[in-house]
Amino acid sequence: MQATIFTVTVLILALIGYYMGRSRAVSSVGGNIRELHSLPRHYGYYVGMWCGLPALLICVVWFIFEPEIINSMVLGSVSSVTAETSSAMLARILSDVKFIAANGTDVSRATPELIVAAQRYIELKQFGTTALAVSILSFAIIGLVIGTRTIGQKLQARDQVEKVIRYVLLASSIVAILTTIGIVSSLLFEAIRFFGKIPFTDFLFGTEWSPQIAMRKDQVASEGSFGAVPIFAGTMLISFIAMCVAVPVGLLSAIYMSEYATPKVRGFGKPVLEILAGIPTVVYGFFAALVVAPTVRNIGEGWGLEVASESALAAGLVMGVMIIPFVSSLSDDVIRAVPQSLRDGSYALGGTKSETVINVVLPAALPGIVGGVMLAISRAIGETMIVVMAAGLSANLTANPLNAVTTATVQMVTLLVGDQEFDSPKTLAAFALGLVLFCVTLCLNVIALRVVAKYREKYD
């Protein structure tokens, strides 16, 4: 709310700056705008930027750092807080203080000490807001003055404005890098905390996974063990089943569409695959849990097999269907990129279409197809909703597709949904799993993108 008011104020000031700058520029040449270096509106933008940008910057910095500063100052004034107080305790004290500040002193949680802290909190908040308002206004006005002062016939307003715009454009392309840094740092930071509690080798090579930890000392519960091998095995199993469906179907349909299909069939097949690609994964998950899993179990029981109700097979099959369009569109691209001359050569030697495809086109397109399949595998490993809804929770170390297995993404969701404590290894384990997931998919992607790029070069 506060942020909106301040932003709107700054924008209004910038608008005033725009009109002032424009009129000033026009009047500086006596209305004969041909004498100016740039168009009048560029002078307007120039002053508007002088007026708005510094103030907006202050606003942003303020709203990022203000809560941290005030929180630490308030906590500093609470005498019971020492260096040893745990972060959870600190958070509780803070929320109590804020609650008292918002609802008055006659609440049950209010102790004299907290009331003092709450008053300090209110004071600090008010002081901060006033300081911000004053500094924004003064910066805006100083900017306005500087901007209008420098306006003259010689000022190259357009170049100045365009320089700023260029920096803004550059800044928005850096967001992609910031995102990557954010992902890596958040995963690394929490994962390192996790490995501080659980040895790295135990996590990577342990074969038992039961992350439930006793909340209180006297509670009967397991100690919690974090051996991730069953999870990796489960992820691999489900991904393998998925690829067993997706690769043949995707590849064959791509071959059919690019080599055999009449335009009519293609006009029908392409939308079908696009529909499959556009369905949200949560829908696939519901479909897997509602239709496929019971069907798989019924068929299995018909053959006298014991099938878990959340079998890896069901989740893998549905995931495979989800990935079909992915494989087929990537293979379609690379198959089309194979030059016609190679095919013509094969036909000239008397090869049939299928012989040409199998002996000439596919070998030529193989690197691209391998790259596409690798991308598809990374997609399967990172897929979440299907396995959350259709695969199991228990970490079984098995290769039997009829058993229930769990995956890294399922565990991440179960560990992080609900109440979290960022001190317990249970929560941090999710970040360790996330780090492994990120690294594996990153490797697959980098290699796959390289392979595909190299392949493209070959025929371009």
Binding site: I165, R166, L170, S172, S173, V175, A176, I177, T180, I183, S186, L187, V249, L252, S253, Y256, Y260, A261, V265, G269, V272, I275, L276, G278, I279, P280, T281, V282, V283, G285, F286, A289, L290, I324, P325, S328, T352, K353, S354, E355, S378, R379, G382, T384, M385, V388, M389, T409, M412, V413, L416, V417, F422, A430, G434, L437, F438, N445, V446, L449
Partner: protein, 428 residues
């Protein structure tokens, strides 16, 4: 002569074999395509067959005696008394009079279970709107409970053994009495579109999730569209060819393939824990999804900008425009259809995304419809996930119905993208 004939025959046989192999291969390809088609068909048919009944709701007509002693014993007609009166008692009273022969506590509780607990609220609204109704007998259509609803929709089999279905023979007998008197009716389920989430299947609606989705998408669009377009303009038109630009490009390509759940972890660790954003709020969800759709938009926008012939830029610069002016006045408007197409596809992806939102707490049970992006909310796909997890049979049709709504939105968006591409995109 015989030799030639023999080799001819051999060649004929081989050719036959090769042609058979050819046909087999072709069939295999067609089979793959048919398999994909069957998957689509199965998916849609199972969703639709489970879900179309979700747009209907069973109502029961009952006479209610709005007893003054129960609702407003003091007769002051104060709003507060009227609002908090025991309407559930009125409903129970009405059921007891209708089925006077039901005795025993357990049976009575079963009897009350025929009618949704929302019936009391319906009566309250009636009385609050017109207090003069107190003391009169009113005939009102009220919602049936989810179990009766399932029975009327033939989801529960009446002829099945009692122990295998969730509704007892006695309850079925009561429902049949009501049906015979014409007191049971299926109507279009307006509640589904006008109510928030609820633990009771018959009262649950998707309005909260729809509004939550809309708010989240608003945040996502507001962030990712300008950022994506600006980044694309920089990379395509201004960026110098150097290591830094390469780094940005590699980054964007990799981000496009990072699993969506990892973005959720980013949101949890940075937006929620470091910046202290509200949990479960569309603003945090929208930011996470914006980062996720950013690569899609950047890649689409770059492709659109690239497809514009350089002659346009050269002409603009030739008549004295700066490069910035040439880009913003000429390149960008011409590329806009392509950029919009990419944006719509990116937004459709974001609309269907669930996993990262689970990470930032948008799975909480929230019955209220959110008003601002800072209120706790849920989104449509997460609502689907939540309902899919609920044990009540009636939630299966709600889930499927919600999926149908979600798919309708996605199909509309994708159709819009195709239309835009066909209508506006120019081939140079």
């Amino acid at each position: 002569m015989t030799e030639l004939k023999e080799s001819m025959q051999k060649a004929q046989a081989r050719l036959k074999k090769r042609h058979a192999a050819e046909t087999r291969f072709k069939m295999l390809g067609a089979g793959a395509l048919i398999f994909a088609f069957l998957c689509v068909l199965m998916l849609f048919s199972s969703i639709i067959s489970n879900g179309y009944t979700g747009f209907q709701q069973t109502y029961v007509k009952l006479e209610f005696y709005l007893d003054e002693d129960v609702i407003d014993p003091e007769g002051a007609r104060e709003l507060k008394t009227l609002q908090f009166a025991n309407y559930a008692g009125v409903v129970k009273q009405s059921l007891r009079t209708k089925f006077a022969d039901v005795k025993g506590r357990r049976d009575k509780r079963k009897l009350y279970g025929l009618i949704s607990s929302s019936a009391g609220y319906a009566l309250r609204d009636l009385v609050v709107a017109d207090p003069s109704l107190i003391g009169t007998k009113q005939t009102v259509w009220v919602m049936a409970s989810d179990e009766v609803d399932m029975l009327v929709k033939n989801v529960f089999d009446r002829n099945e053994d009692e122990s295998t279905r969730p509704i007892t023979d006695k309850e079925i007998a009561w429902v049949e009495v009501l049906e015979k008197e014409g007191r049971v009716e299926k109507r279009f389920n307006t509640n589904f579109f006008s109510a928030g989430d609820s633990r009771e299947p018959e009262q649950a609606g998707i309005k909260g999730a729809l509004v939550g989705s809309a708010l989240t998408m608003l945040v996502t669009l507001g962030l990712s569209f300008p950022l994506g377009v600006m980044a694309a303009i920089y990379l395509e038109e201004f960026a110098p060819k150097n290591k830094f630009t390469d780094l940005v490009e590699v980054n964007i390509n990799n981000l496009a393939a990072v699993p969506s759940i990892v973005f959720g972890l980013l949101g949890l660790a940075i937006f929620l824990n470091v910046f202290g954003m509200p949990r479960s709020a569309p603003v945090a969800g929208g930011m996470v999804l914006a980062l996720m759709t950013l690569p899609t938009i950047i890649i689409a926008a770059r492709a659109a900008l690239k497809s514009i012939p350089p002659s346009i830029m050269e002409a603009a610069i030739g008549v004295g425009a700066s490069k910035m002016q040439a880009v913003f006045h000429h390149q960008l408007p011409l590329a806009l259809p392509g950029i919009l197409t990419g944006t719509i596809i990116g937004m459709a992806q974001a609309l269907g995304e669930t996993a990262p939102l689970l990470m930032i707490g948008m799975v909480a049970f929230i019955a209220d419809v959110p008003g601002t992006p800072f209120d706790p909310a849920t989104v449509l796909p997460v609502q689907v996930y939540l309902w899919a997890d609920s044990p009540e049979r009636a939630f299966v049709e709600k889930t499927s119905a919600a999926i149908m709504v979600l798919l309708a939105f996605l199909i509309t968006m994708n159709a819009l993208a195709v239309l835009l591409r066909k209508k506006l995109e120019r081939r140079w």
